[in-house]
């Protein structure tokens, strides 16, 4: 029990968290025990090795079941978020049983955690406050220096407790590793999970609708309710709207759903004769590249976000499709079968400088990485199905991320460029959404219900 007390005099909380959503206040600052430098705050001292972190269950300081649920959910989600970016090595949670529970946020057996091999421990405490507010306080302890490297406090509703963990994970990545994590990002995708019959003259056709979920697959919410087909979603860069191809008006047209405002836009103004599909938003959100038949053949066009200033980008009797913007918005990569098989090309937004990127049997559905990477992921026909490959535009080197398990299609980068979401028929035969590191490691399945495909990852 004495070791529980070791840290007490040494604790100082450094509240640096800047939450977008939560009311946040600093922990009462304890006086620092000794002069410290910024270096002291960074956990882990072995050069090149991942710091080892433990994330035990949070303390529930009030006795109600909701608070107890929040305590275990936040710890588990935080663990998963930290593991996802692979900046830390997470000590498996089932090895924590021998460690005595913390008595309070700052009273925890750091010696025991050190014996387990942890460089850092996340300590957190949750409680129900007045007005049914959930108060979440967390500290990241450096086990070797016995100091708190990070302290945060969030207060908010019980509605989505996972959000506290996501924000804490982002905070830890930002402070400890200088990394913009993606724990609060979302996936939008197409699903038949609530499939209904399409309204129309042909029976036995099932709807597909657009859904969004947290990046880890939790909190699935439906965006479209159109009793029709809705495919090829694309987030706007401000992550507040999803553009997609909808058949709700009887023909393909681009619809933008402002998901937090319940408002629709149809900037391409399609009709029975003019079809528009596959929107892709420029990195600054001001322009949309898309596919249209308006000149009699599937060609690529660019227009302003409001539909003005329409420009034709391609002019070739073959198929040109699947536009994706370069990180700075100066170029667009797309698929064309102008040589007889679909391949990836790049063209300037002004229509100049066309060049071919891929030279394989069949390459399609490019997606350009965000900065600082400069690479294009695509689906390449490698057998009966597709695999996800990435071409580095500086070196033209191609690397393969999936290897023939099912068909793997529709890659989409996370905002920090470190991960890709894609659809795959591996495991179940159904199309499901998976995420994988850009190095091909860390595969995770994020959907399980129905068929889910065409993921797009928000900023």
């Amino acid at each position: 029990m004495t070791r529980l007390l070791h840290c007490l005099a040494l604790v100082a909380a450094v509240a640096t968290a800047g939450s977008l959503v939560f009311a946040q206040q600093s922990l009462p600052p304890d006086p620092p025990a000794r002069a410290r430098t910024g270096v002291d705050l960074i956990i882990g001292d072995r050069i090149g090795a991942q710091p080892r972190l433990a994330v035990p269950d949070c303390l529930a300081l009030t006795g109600d079941p909701e608070t107890a649920d929040a305590a275990s959910t936040i710890a588990q989600v935080l663990f998963d978020d930290l593991e996802f970016e692979r900046e830390f090595r997470l000590l498996p949670r089932d090895t924590y049983r021998t460690i005595p529970r913390a008595r309070s946020l700052t009273d925890l057996p750091l010696n025991a955690w050190q014996e387990l091999g942890a460089d850092g421990v996340v300590s957190c405490a949750v409680s129900r406050e007045a007005d049914d507010q959930l108060l979440v306080r967390a500290s990241l302890f450096n086990v070797s220096s016995l100091e708190s490297a990070l302290g945060v406090e969030y207060a908010g509703s019980f509605r989505n407790v996972r959000l506290y963990a996501h924000e804490l994970a982002n905070e830890i990545h930002r402070q400890q590793r200088g990394l913009e994590g993606v724990a609060r990002s979302h996936l939008a995708f197409v699903s038949d999970r609530d499939s209904e019959s399409v309204l129309g003259l042909v029976p036995n056709r099932q709807t597909k609708e657009i859904y969004i979920a947290d990046y880890d697959g939790a909190n699935v919410r439906r965006v479209t309710v159109s009793r029709s087909l809705n495919v090829t979603p694309a987030w706007t860069p401000d992550s507040r709207a999803v553009g997609y191809t909808s058949y709700r008006y009887g023909h393909q047209d681009i619809v933008i759903s402002h998901i937090y405002e319940g408002r629709l836009e149809t900037p391409a103004r399609g009709n029975e004769r003019v079809h528009n599909w596959l929107p892709s938003f420029s990195p600054d959100g001001s322009q949309i590249a898309f596919n249209s038949n308006r000149d009699g053949n599937p060609e690529l066009y660019v227009m302003n976000r409001d539909g003005t200033n329409l420009r034709r980008l391609t002019n070739h009797p073959a198929i040109d499709t699947s536009p994706t913007w370069s990180p700075l918005g100066h170029q667009i990569a797309f698929t064309s079968d102008r040589t007889g098989s679909p391949q990836i090309y790049v063209i300037g937004v002004d229509g100049a400088g066309l060049r071919r990127i891929t030279f394989e049997s069949y390459c399609d559905r490019p997606t350009w990485s965000p900065s600082p990477y400069n690479e294009i992921a695509y689906a390449s026909l490698t057998g009966p199905g597709y695999d996800i490959k990435v071409v580095d535009l500086a070196t033209n080197e191609v690397r393969q991320l999936t290897f023939g398990q099912g068909t793997n299609e529709s890659p989409s980068y996370s905002a920090n460029g470190r991960h890709l979401a894609f659809s795959s028929t591996r495991r179940s035969g159904n199309k499901q959404i998976y995420v994988i590191g850009r190095d091909g490691r860390g595969l995770r399945q994020v959907t399980y219900t129905g068929n889910n495909e065409m993921p797009t990852w928000s900023r």
Binding site: L201, K208, H251, H275, N297, I319
Partner: protein, 223 residues
């Protein structure tokens, strides 16, 4: 003047149609010649009585012959005449019996698949000989049903990516439409749409399914 009695012939039963219309046409002529007012009134009443007692109508009966179609129910008839002595009763208009056989539900027409699908090769929107024959057959059907409006749906097998197949289906629909228009079908009667690989006709991942799903599918959307 616009009397209700003269409009009664707008909804005659089919069996009474020709006679009633004959009477109305005569009525019209006589009105214009300004003669025989009383006789017109009698004839108008007769026409009305024909319309009031429709014989049973076969819902599946063929459309009226072209001669009868010259006088359509929407023809502006004579302003009509007032029967000299008694005002005509105001009957509740019967449901329009003509609707029952001229206009069959589109769902029913499409269930019979009057237009043939046009099939394509892998990753192709070329019209081959078999496809050409199917399109020609469809052109014949469309010329025999000159009021039909059709949608040509482009469909693809599941081997391309779903994104690429949206464009490929569009090209297939366009190729069939262009061929059909080349055979004399008015482009105003033909719409296109691409569903890519989203609505397969035959499920499964095998040659037969793929071949069945690479098609332009015709749907009658108006008549």
């Amino acid at each position: 003047m616009n009397w209700p009695s003269a409009r009664r012939g707008d909804d005659p039963a089919r069996a009474g149609l020709n006679l009633a219309r004959y009477i109305q046409m005569k009525t019209h002529q006589r009105l214009h010649s300004g003669r025989l007012l009383l006789g017109v009134a009698v004839l108008g009443l007769f026409a009305w009585s024909c319309a009031r007692n429709p014989p049973s109508v076969e819902p599946e009966a063929p459309a009226p012959p072209p001669g009868a179609a010259q006088v359509t129910p929407t023809d502006p008839l004579a302003p009509g005449v007032r029967p000299s002595s008694q005002p005509l009763p105001q009957p509740v208009p019967p449901p329009l019996p003509e609707e029952e056989f001229v206009s069959r539900p589109l769902e029913e027409i499409n269930r019979e698949a009057p237009l043939q699908p046009v099939f394509f090769g892998y990753d192709s929107s070329e019209i081959n000989a078999v496809a050409r024959a199917a399109i020609e057959t469809n052109a014949d059907v469309l010329s025999r049903n000159p009021t039909w409006v059709v949608a040509i749906e482009g469909h693809c097998d599941s081997r391309g990516t779903p994104e690429y197949n949206l464009a490929l289906g569009e090209r297939r629909a366009y190729a069939v439409r262009d061929h059909l228009v080349g055979l004399g079908v008015s482009p105003d009667r033909v719409q296109t749409i691409s569903y890519g690989e989203e609505f397969p006709f035959v499920p499964g991942e095998n040659e037969e399914a793929w071949a069945a799903n690479r098609r332009a599918h015709f749907v009658v959307t108006g008549q």
